[in-house]
Symmetry: C2
Subunit: 338 residues, 2 copies
Amino acid sequence: MTRAVTIVDIARALDLSKSTVSSALTGQGRSSEATRRRVVEAAARMGYVTNRAARQLRVQSTGAWGLYIPAQVRMQSFYMQFTFGVVDEAAALGYDVTLFGRTSEPTQKMGPQIDGAIVADPLPDDPVIERLARTGVPLVTGGPMRGSNSRLADGVIEVDNYKMGRQVLDQLVRLGARLPALMAPDAMFDSPWAGDVRDTYLAWCEDHRIEPKLATIAVSPTSQDLDSAVRRLITDSSIDALVCAPQGLAGRSQPILESLGYKIGKEFHLAALVGDPATELMNEKITALDLTPFEFGREAARMMEEILQSGATIRLHKFHEAHLRPAVAAADTSGTTM
Amino acid sequence: MTRAVTIVDIARALDLSKSTVSSALTGQGRSSEATRRRVVEAAARMGYVTNRAARQLRVQSTGAWGLYIPAQVRMQSFYMQFTFGVVDEAAALGYDVTLFGRTSEPTQKMGPQIDGAIVADPLPDDPVIERLARTGVPLVTGGPMRGSNSRLADGVIEVDNYKMGRQVLDQLVRLGARLPALMAPDAMFDSPWAGDVRDTYLAWCEDHRIEPKLATIAVSPTSQDLDSAVRRLITDSSIDALVCAPQGLAGRSQPILESLGYKIGKEFHLAALVGDPATELMNEKITALDLTPFEFGREAARMMEEILQSGATIRLHKFHEAHLRPAVAAADTSGTTM
DNA sequence: TTGAAAGCGCTACCAG
DNA sequence: CTGGTAGCGCTTTCAA
C-alpha cells in the first residue's frame, strides 16, 4: 500500500503551486481553463483522490450524515429501503452515510462526526435521538416528531397518514366492507406514525358512526401472537375487514383468516397501511399503501442538503406522496364482469 | 453553534501543554496518573470530543469501515440484521460504519475513505466490490468469494452451508420425507451461497439415490411467481417436502400448499435455509435454519478489527455457527406420544 | 514527567 | 491568473 498521491505531488509534476492545483481541482474558476484542464487530467492520470480528513479539518465539515433507525423496526423492509434511498441520494450529493446503532457511543470518546442527522420514525423519548440532536447538527426526520423532542427537528418529511388512512378505509367501504377493524402497533413502538394511524381510524369511525375495533400488537409479532390477535378480533365482533398498520401483517393474516373460512376479497377485506413489496403490494387480494420508501429516503436526503445549503437557517416541512394500491375486486363466482 | 472545544482549550484551562493533554487523553501512560485524571475530568466537564478529521489526518486512518449490501437482497431482513450487527460491534471497537449503495461514486471525486470494507454475500462480478477492493483497504466478506474476485478478500466468514444444508435435509427425512425438492435463487442472485446451496442439495440427492427436483426463483418473487413455482413443483412430481433457500419463501409457500390441501408438518414438510425471524423461525411447522445474522455481522466486524490490528498482514477464514430449529412433529390425530 | 515544535493534506488569504 | 504562507486539531518525535 504505497503512499497516496496528494496535491503537492501533482503540483510538482506540473510545476505549479499547491494553491493553483487546489483551486483548479475544486474548480472555483480562479485559474485559466487551460491549466484547469491540465490539472484535472494529471489528477485523473495519477490516481489522485481527495483526502477527506484534510479537507474536513480545513473546512470544518465532515462530509458525512448520520442515519438512525430505531431498533424495534429494523427488520421491516421499509426501513431498509428508506436507508438505501438516503444512501443513494447522499452519494449523489457527495455525502457518506454513517449508520448508528442502539449503543452507538458508551465506548466512544469520539462522538459521531457528522454534518447532519436523519432519523426514521422518531420515537418520543429515544435517547439516541437526543444525543444526535445535542451534537448541534441539523436534524431531519422521516415522520413527524411529537412531544418534548418535537422542536429538535430542522426538517420533517412525512406521509399524510390522515389522508392515506382515510383513502384506505374508504376503499374498503367501496369494496363492500361495513365494519373495518384496525391492528395497530403496541406501546413498544409508540411512534408519531402509530399515533396518527390510531387517531385517523378513530376519527373515521366517529364520522361513520361505527364502533371502533382496535387491537394492538408488536410490530414483528410471532406467528402465535398474530394468530391469537386475529382470532380474538374476529370472534369478538362482527368485523368484515382488517386494516393492518405494521408492515407485513396483512399478508401474514391472510392465511390465518382463510384457514378460518373467510374469503379474502369477497366477504372479508384486508388492507396494509405499510405495504410490503414482496407479500402485500404484489397481492391482489390486499388493499395496500405503497409508501415508496426508497424515494422517501431520497427526499429526506434532499431536504438535508437544502437545509445545509441554507446554513441551517431554515426549517422545512414536506409531505411525501404515498400511493393507494387497491385490491382487485374478486371475480364473483356467479359470473364475470367483462 | 459555538466552536467545539479542543485539546488546546483544555490545556489552557489546566495550564498544561497540548502534548500532555493529548497523551493523557489517549492514555499511553507517559503522564502521571494524577494529571491524567485531571485532564480526563476536565475533558468530560468541558464536553470535549475528539476531532476525528484532525486525528485521522495525523494518524492516516479514517476510523470508518465501509459496508456494502448487494442491491438484489436489500429487502431481506437477514441483511438488515447483519448490517446492525456490524454497526453494533464496530461502534464498540470505535469505528463508524459507512454504507455504500449501488451508484456510490460516479459523482464522487472523493473516493470512499475507509480503513476497511465489509461485504455481505459478494456476487462474483459486482463492480462495487471491485472498486472497494481497489482502494487497497482490507476486505472482509460475509460468505465466500468465488471466481475472479476470490483472492480479493483478506477475511472470510461464512456459514458452513454444506453441513447445515445436510442437517436440514436429514431432518426432513427424520420427519418422514422421502423426496425433498429445493427452491433456489435464480441467476439474478448467483452468489457463492446460492451455489453452495445447490451443490449441497445435488450431492445429498446423489448420496441418497434421489432424483433432484430443483426450481429456481427470484429472491423476492411476486405472489404470482411463487404461487406458480410451488404449483409447478408439486404437480410435476411426487415430492413430499420443500426446502426454500431465499429468506421468507418457506413461510410464504405454506398457505399456498395448504390451500392445495397439503397438511404441512404431516404428509408434507417445509424447510427454510435462511429462517425469517417473523415468519419462519416462529413457525413450528417449518424446519428452519437460524443464521443469527446479527451475531454474524458482529463476527465480521471482529474479524475486520483483527486484520487491521495485524497491519493487514494476515488472512482469516472462519465459520459462523448457524442453528437448526426443527419443526415440531405434528401431533398425530390418532394419538399422542408422551 | 512534561513542553516545544513539526507536520499530516488541504483551503483561504494576501501579495504579486 | 498564480505562488507563498498560515493554520484547521491532532499525534509524535526530540529535548529538557
